[in-house]
């Protein structure tokens, strides 16, 4: 890319976006694990063989982890189709059927989440059908046949395709039909509705009101705005998608205005603690120093969490832009990416982004021709969870043992190499450019009064469709689990949702309607955390859950302070005693006392929050602990068999 200046830059806009046809393959770590790399190869070969002139490009994750690998096809007509679960076979079909014959593939289409009740002007060329009932029998094929049968009668055969969809983003709503390209969606339709739909909406131009499903997807992609859309290894793509416009805007104004925009936006730290981003920047900005630093904390480590990885892999330039904005706001000329070494692809994408930005004059001396100079470097984390803690992270970058230091002094005053340092999480930084570009008012209109904007969650566990979700703050757990992720696996009743990873707690079924905000989750004994969300069904054992998370913290404790080092270990021993049926009620009170000491006397967040999974399960599921204590070893053995899924032994 040619060297950019502030002036040449502003003229670039979304209209420059490459508008031609393309094929994009979700080449994030999840996609690659599911075979995306091979799919990309096959598609490139096939395109060549077919003599087609369209690029086959890598992109990040759209978030639909449950249908990886993902492929998006955009044809001359501008229509974009997302396919999931693509293998070599289906990849070839994409070329032969979709591109050559204009036929969508059965059982692979992932419907877009946009729904409308307006048929628009364009003639419907295909309908997606999918049985979303929870009754176990799949009637999708039957309905496809029914529609095709009806089409034959109505003379639509060959004019409108009936395609079996892989996923509609709608769950438990019976048979769902979506008309393309309008997006008009019908749910819970019965056999007798088919004729009416065909008659009114396909032959005519009327929406069948009583079956229309216009409920919008609760998701709102701010942080993930470019993930799965842009080529993460292309600066042009990012710029075409509006990238670096936020930086340009900030550079034309002042660092103070950048901070005040952040203040007005209400953005809070997405690493989990929710500290106001503007305040963090202001504190660093206020300190006089010859050198300041900004750090991007990419040491994501919660079990089951992959928000930051997806953003780093899918949209590295937005994180870099966010870091630059942070640097500009606080007066830093140097930024560091601290990324865990287990994320090689994220590291590689950031490395490429840095190089590209340097070449384009976005990074380095005189950014975009202004007086602001800024450069960035990468440091790898060696796999210690505690290095996500700010002072430990700093020690790690400095080459020291990664263990936390007492605060104050806070890093904002005395951080990396004793210089004022502002540390922000990946997700926070990725939101910043969007806020700068679109304005604080836009961002603060999303979310709740105290928790503004959106939050990305990695929803995993006993959930039907595990995926990356981005919803406005204030969305309820119920909506996230059931509306977006399709509910609990095998439709077993839900027991609770674990949020906040090892620092969080379990939110029981009765509280699932609570809107997700920093405050509400804390009141319920959990925390927002970085965004891991684990779904548990009624068969899950809460003592095991507590043990799992506590064990994680015991393994990851740096061992510096006594309450965390010994408290965690000893508590785990007591929990083991409970789940083997050998504990007494007194042990339960020891656990509570150790929790209290760890919470209040540990040095850093890891130790202070490590008891949360134990405390929250004790709060909502104490009966399960008591059952082990009262049931003794016999009960414990029986429970173990149940949990292992072995048939219950007949009582003798």
């Amino acid at each position: 890319m040619e060297t950019l200046t502030l002036d040449t830059f502003v003229t670039k806009s979304k209209s420059d976006s490459p508008s031609g046809p393309y094929i994009k393959v979700g080449m994030d770590t999840g996609g690659i694990a599911a075979g995306a790399a091979r799919v990309l190869e096959v598609l490139q070969e096939e395109v060549k063989l077919a003599g087609l002139d369209l690029p086959v490009l890598p992109t990040g994750s759209l978030g639909y982890s449950f249908v990886d690998p993902l492929v998006e096809v955009k044809t001359e007509s501008g229509l974009r189709t997302v396919y999931g679960k693509i293998d070599e076979e289906s990849a070839k079909q994409i070329i032969s059927d979709h591109l050559k014959e204009g036929k969508l593939l059965d059982d692979h289409v992932v419907a877009s989440r946009k729904r409308t009740n307006d048929l628009g002007d364009t003639q419907t060329f295909a309908i997606l059908v999918k049985d979303t009932s929870c009754d176990g029998g799949d009637k999708t094929q039957f309905f496809q046949a029914s529609f095709e049968e009806d089409f034959r009668h109505e003379g639509l055969t060959g004019k409108v395709q009936v395609v079996r969809a892989l996923d509609m983003g709608i769950y438990g709503e019976g048979l769902v039909v979506k008309l393309l390209p309008s997006g008009v969606t019908y749910a819970n339709i019965l056999t007798r509705d088919i004729a009416q739909i065909v008659d009114q909406s396909l032959k005519g131009d009327k929406v069948v009101d009583h079956r229309v499903y216009a409920k919008n997807d609760p998701q709102n992609r701010v942080v993930l705005r470019n993930c799965g859309r842009v080529n993460p290894e292309s600066l042009e793509d990012y710029v075409a998608a509006g990238g670096y416009q936020g930086l340009a805007k900030a550079l034309k104004a002042s660092p103070e205005e950048t901070i005040s925009t952040m203040k007005d936006s209400g953005l809070r730290g997405r690493g989990g603690a929710g500290f106001p981003t503007w305040l963090k920047w202001k504190l660093t900005s206020d300190v006089e120093a010859d050198q300041k630093y900004v750090i991007c904390n990419g040491d994501e480590g919660d079990p089951g969490a992959f928000m930051d990885r997806s953003v780093l892999e899918g949209d590295p330039h937005s994180v870099l832009e966010g870091l630059m904005l942070a640097g500009y706001a606080v007066g830093a000329t140097k930024g560091w990416f601290y990324i865990r070494a287990e994320y090689p692809l994220a590291v590689e994408r950031i490395r490429i982004a840095i190089e590209q930005a340097q070449e384009a004059g976005i990074l380095g001396e005189k950014v975009l021709g202004t007086d602001f100079s800024f450069d960035a470097e990468i440091r790898l984390g060696a796999g210690a969870f505690v290095c996500g803690e700010e002072t430990a992270l700093i020690a790690s970058i400095e080459g020291m043992r990664g263990s936390p230091e007492p605060r104050p002094p806070y890093p904002s005053v005395k951080g990396l190499w004793d210089k004022p340092t502002s540390i922000n999480n990946v997700e926070t930084l990725a939101a910043v450019p969007a806020i700068m570009a679109k304005g604080a008012r836009w961002y603060s209109s999303i979310g709740t009064e105290k928790s503004k904007g959106t939050k990305v969650f990695a929803v995993t566990g006993k959930v039907k469709y595990p995926q990356l979700v981005e919803v406005p703050m204030g969305t309820s757990l119920q909506q996230i689990v059931f509306d977006v992720c399709g509910g609990v696996l095998d439709d077993i009743p839900i027991k609770g949702v674990q949020t906040g990873g090892p620092s969080g707690g379990v939110i029981p079924e009765q509280h699932l309607n609570t809107p997700v905000t920093y405050e509400t989750l804390q009141e319920l004994g959990s925390i927002m955390g970085s965004g891991g969300m684990l779904i548990m069904d009624e068969h899950d054992c809460m003592v095991d859950v507590a043990k799992f998370y506590l064990k994680f913290c015991v393994d990851e404790s740096c061992g510096k302070c006594a309450p965390c080092r010994i408290g965690g270990y000893q508590m785990l021993q007591l929990l083991e005693l409970i789940s083997s049926g050998k504990a007494s009620l007194e042990d339960l009170s020891h656990i509570e006392r150790i929790c209290n000491a760890m919470k209040k006397a540990s040095l850093c967040g890891l130790g202070q929050t490590a008891p949360n999974p134990v405390l929250s399960t004790l709060r909502y599921f104490k009966n399960e602990y008591i059952a082990y204590i009262e049931g003794g070893p016999r009960y414990a053995r029986q429970r173990k068999r149940e949990l292992a899924g072995k048939p219950e032994r007949k009582a003798s």
Binding site: R401, G559, K560, R565, G567, Y569, Q570, N596, L603
Partner: protein, 587 residues
């Protein structure tokens, strides 16, 4: 600079403290004791133990008093039922990870953890004990690391890395397996350890203790074929009393002589004598180099074995600058087994020499090189630290504090004030300058100039320019061995650029404060204690009728009757040593 004064309250007591004062410090000022097992007055807070948590009105957190500076208007509560309960729980946790071996521990009766457990009235183990089995490291012969007893307070690591700049100790592994150990998980004697023992002096528990050789001394004393002699180092006399409940700095020289005699030593000598002897050699060496240009300038003192070890490992380019004069301990050993043996007509093979030292590195010095056997025998057989000596006395049934005063034995017992000040930082320099001045000018320093004030005190590096009748002698004194690098780098810079050396004479002592702050001294060291001990030795110097090594009549006799003169062939053979470059890591 006007320091900002902060107003706050601790337990309702109004306080005014300078900005930057920690809650822990401020509380001490108003007679409030907040428990801690990791914060040491010498060291920055590590915030490890978690016992010093307090409440601050309006804050949901419980910050640590050790590392939280007081802010304007803070209302601090240091003790309430919740805090006490948390402290008790934390203490129980620490005990659950600590072997229950108090009765056989080197710190029995003198352990910070034991005391706190006693204060909190912990009467039973509520939490099952888990202690990882790890073998002790006794590889140095000076210091024993018992990893199982370590509570991970971090003091030893901090003192080793940040104060001493030795970097022998570090933390390895994490979580419950986190442990203090030589970096790289090697043995301590394979590490850069210089055996200064500051780790043992700062350890709150029995995890790092001196290698105890009291039994060896008992065996020698009970052996009829051995003729036991003893020497006592300058700084021991002003510190030993602390082990018997006396305030630091109390001078017990004459009771120590009496106790040693009662213990069965046939001859009681004083290392202060051999300190005078060291000065005679070292001052002569200085004049040879400085006045006659024979040898490298600056001359660097070599009486601290930890420093010698450090120099050989880290600064071996300064070997030519080192004084070849042995330390007073070794001079006393060789003089006992040659000069004294001759005088009393005793077979030196039968003579057994014990030294009472403030130092753990002195144990290492005994066998440092072949020159430590200059008498034909091991010149000094065993070195006890002050702490071991206190135990020796306590085991012997001697009512130490009520002993009558006695004198040391001739011909190695008389000392001058210059010999006694060897025990603190700057003292060797001062003693040497007193004699060097005399040797150059032919007259003694004026009464009011004898105390060379600029080289005294606890400043890490002290510099001075001494006027020797028109010739300026530039000197530097460094103590706490982490400070030596600055001084030597200056010399290196001048040497490399061909400029004149910034110093002519450099004194280095490895321990903060010098030997009075030695790694083998009674527990509870801080700068207040160091100053009190220094004051004790200063008074001893002032009270001596002789203030100059060269005026010590027993020194004069030793040269006249035995050695000839300083730097004579005989003196060189018996009283001087050599140095070799050694690797920091032997593994």
């Amino acid at each position: 600079m006007i320091q900002e004064i902060i107003n706050a309250t601790i337990n309702g007591i109004p306080i005014k403290v300078p900005a930057g004062t920690s809650i822990l410090q401020a509380a001490q000022g108003v007679q409030v004791k907040i428990p801690t097992l990791c914060k040491h007055k010498d060291l920055l807070p590590t915030a490890a133990c978690g016992l010093c948590i307090v409440n601050i009105a309006g804050s949901p957190k419980k910050p640590r008093a050790c590392c939280t500076p007081i802010e304007e208007g803070m209302e601090i509560t240091t003790h309430d039922s919740d805090l006490t309960d948390i402290r008790r729980s934390t203490l129980e946790l620490i005990l659950s990870n600590h072997p229950n071996e108090c009765l056989t521990c080197g710190r029995n009766g003198n352990c910070e953890l034991q005391s706190l457990a006693g204060d909190f009235g912990l009467r039973q183990d509520l939490i099952p004990r888990y202690v990882r089995e790890l073998p002790c490291d006794d590889s140095t012969g000076s210091i024993i690391l018992d990893f199982r007893k370590c509570i991970k307070c971090g003091r030893c690591v901090q003192v080793c890395q940040d104060v001493q700049n030795v970097w022998a100790l570090s933390f390895l592994e994490r979580g419950i397996n986190n442990r203090m150990a030589p970096a790289g998980d090697i043995l301590l004697n394979e590490s850069p350890c210089i055996r200064c023992g500051q780790c043992s002096a700062h350890c709150p528990t029995g995890a790092i203790v001196e290698s105890d050789e009291v039994t060896t001394v008992w065996d020698a004393l009970h052996d009829e074929n051995k003729y036991c002699t003893v020497q006592v180092a300058p700084s021991v006399r002003v510190a030993l009393g602390e082990a018997f409940g006396l305030p630091p700095g109390t001078n017990l020289t004459k009771k120590i002589y009496a106790a040693l005699r009662r213990l069965g030593f046939k001859a009681v000598f004083d290392t202060n004598f051999s300190a005078d002897l060291t000065i005679m050699e070292e001052a002569s060496e200085f004049i040879e180099r400085f006045v006659h240009g024979k040898g490298e300038i600056p001359l660097i003192t070599s009486c601290c074995p930890a420093w010698v070890d450090y120099m050989e490992k880290r600064f071996s380019d300064f070997i030519p600058n080192f004084s070849t004069a042995k330390s007073p301990q070794q001079m006393m050993g060789v003089m006992t087994k040659t000069y004294y043996a001759e005088k009393v007509n005793m077979d030196p093979a039968k003579i057994y020499q014990v030294s009472i030292m403030p130092c753990t590195a002195k144990k290492y010095e005994l066998e440092r090189t072949d020159e430590m056997y200059a008498s034909g025998y091991k010149d000094v057989d065993v070195a006890l630290t002050t702490r071991e000596f206190a135990r020796l006395i306590k085991q012997s049934g001697i009512d130490f504090l009520n002993l009558p005063d006695e004198e040391a034995d001739s011909i190695l017992g008389e000392y001058s004030g210059a010999g006694t000040i060897f025990g603190y930082t700057g003292g060797v320099m001062e003693a040497a300058l007193r004699t060097a001045y005399f040797k150059v000018t032919g007259k003694n320093l004026q009464q009011e100039a004898i105390d060379i004030q600029p080289v005294r005190g606890l400043e890490g590096v002290k510099e001075a320019e001494i006027d020797v009748e028109g010739t300026k002698v530039r000197v530097a004194v460094a103590h706490a061995i982490g400070n030596v690098e600055k001084v030597l780098n200056k010399v290196r810079a001048a040497r490399d650029s061909g400029e004149e050396t910034p110093y002519h004479f450099i004194e280095v002592m490895a321990c903060p404060g010098g030997c009075i702050g030695g790694g083998g001294q009674p527990y509870g060291i801080d700068n207040e204690v160091r100053m009190a001990r220094i004051r004790g030795l200063e008074a001893d110097d002032r009270d001596c009728k002789l203030r100059f090594s060269h005026e010590n009549p027993e020194i004069q006799a030793a040269y006249k009757d035995f050695l000839g003169e300083p730097l004579s062939e005989k003196a060189e053979a018996l009283l001087h040593t050599k140095y070799v470059a050694r690797p920091s890591y032997s593994k």
